[in-house]
């Protein structure tokens, strides 16, 4: 995985640079873990067309993850590569929110996880595009077009499942009940995010949360689904406290590089 292109480093203090490294790594881990989850569907999709749709989205997210890892490696400046960052860190060093590491479950679980993430992802990228970090803005500008399609795709499925048959409705409601608790973490800033918000590098989450709420409410209304209220937000992934699922996922994701260090094919 080697591309050569110019990476623009912002002129900031070493402290902000370290925070930016942590944040970019968080974005990278989030895209990579969700990409891996979706890739688990490959060959198992409910129909050929949706199997391909999930593989496409997985590859979009993997491409986005690579851009972030490359940028993070440059920010760190210690000679680590994108591969080192993706393949040679342990679960507690991963910074993805809990939502994206949740298992695929049935198709409804995958769709609800995807929609909750896509709604956040899309509105975040819209903001990052105009942020002061030119490299992040460039990655966001490329990825936002993909994210716009992802959220259109997953919203369409939430509507079909919610306003579908008795069984599809029961399954999508079960998935919403299981996954809603992980939505709050996406827009709850960590100390790193707060510090970067203070200097303008990370957009304010209150405005994004409002856009997400409107987006979700619109889709759920069309799906004739109720938006859960007052659910406790489960947090921890963004600060390295993960569910048990991440360890198993990384075992599979990192196996080749761990077993055969430096292997290429």
């Amino acid at each position: 995985m080697q591309d050569t292109h110019t990476i623009l480093l912002p002129e900031v203090t070493p402290e902000v640079r370290q925070q930016l490294f942590d944040y970019v790594l968080q974005l990278a881990d989030t895209s990579l873990i969700l990409a891996h989850r979706l890739s688990e569907w490959c060959g198992h999709g409910p129909i050929l067309e949706q199997d391909l749709a999930m593989a496409n989205i997985s590859l979009d997210l993997l491409g986005e993850a690579r851009s972030y890892y490359q940028y993070a490696a440059e920010l760190e400046g210690q000679g680590r590569t994108e591969d080192d960052l993706a393949y040679l860190r342990s679960a507690v060093q991963y910074r993805n929110p809990l939502l994206v590491e949740q298992p695929n479950g049935d198709f409804a679980h995958t769709i609800v996880r995807q929609f909750l993430y896509d709604a956040f992802h899309y509105h975040l990228l819209v903001q990052l595009q105009t942020g002061p970090d030119r490299q992040l803005a460039a990655i966001a500008e490329k990825s936002v077009k993909e994210a716009a399609y992802h959220v259109k795709w997953s919203a369409e499925w939430v509507i079909r499942l919610g306003d579908g048959t008795d069984e599809s409705r029961r399954r999508v409601e079960t998935a919403i009940n299981a996954l809603w608790r992980y939505q709050g973490e996406l827009t709850t800033p960590t100390p790193t995010e707060q510090a970067l918000q203070a200097v303008g590098f990370v957009p304010g989450y209150a405005a994004i949360q409002q856009q997400i709420d409107q987006h979700v409410a619109r889709v759920f209304e069309e799906a004739t689904l109720a938006v859960p209220q007052g659910v406790f937000a489960q947090k921890g992934g963004k600060t390295g406290r993960h569910s048990e699922h991440l360890g198993y996922l990384l075992t599979e994701l990192q196996y080749m590089q761990r077993a055969y260090p430096g292997m290429k094919w």
Binding site: I47, L48, E49, Q50, L52, A53, N56, Y149, K152, W153, E156, R160, T165
Partner: protein, 95 residues
């Protein structure tokens, strides 16, 4: 649900502005909106298109292969139907 399979759709892709939509294949989808999304995912992954048409396969009516002789063979000996007797000026390209 009595109908387990989604209906079949024919997919047409326009590869460039100014060119015709061309038939590229078919796929299954519950309705037109899903058919277009599926077509995007299945048939435009490698920059193939700028526009997609879908039409449910049941709306396509085909000629009967048994009619081939009656339909097409009479044209074989009527070369005067080809406009090959005109001279095309050199400056006209792409004829």
């Amino acid at each position: 649900m009595s109908q387990k399979e989604w209906p079949l759709w024919e997919v047409f892709i326009r590869s460039k502005q100014g060119l015709d939509h061309k038939h590229v294949g078919s796929l299954h989808a519950a309705d037109a909106e899903m058919a277009i999304q599926n077509a995007r995912d299945v048939y435009t992954r490698r920059l193939e298109g700028v526009s997609i048409w879908v039409v449910e396969s049941k709306h396509v009516h085909a000629s009967n292969p048994d009619d081939a002789a009656a339909f097409y063979e009479p044209a074989n000996d009527k070369i005067y139907r080809h406009p090959t007797f005109y001279t095309v000026p050199d400056s006209i390209k792409h004829m």
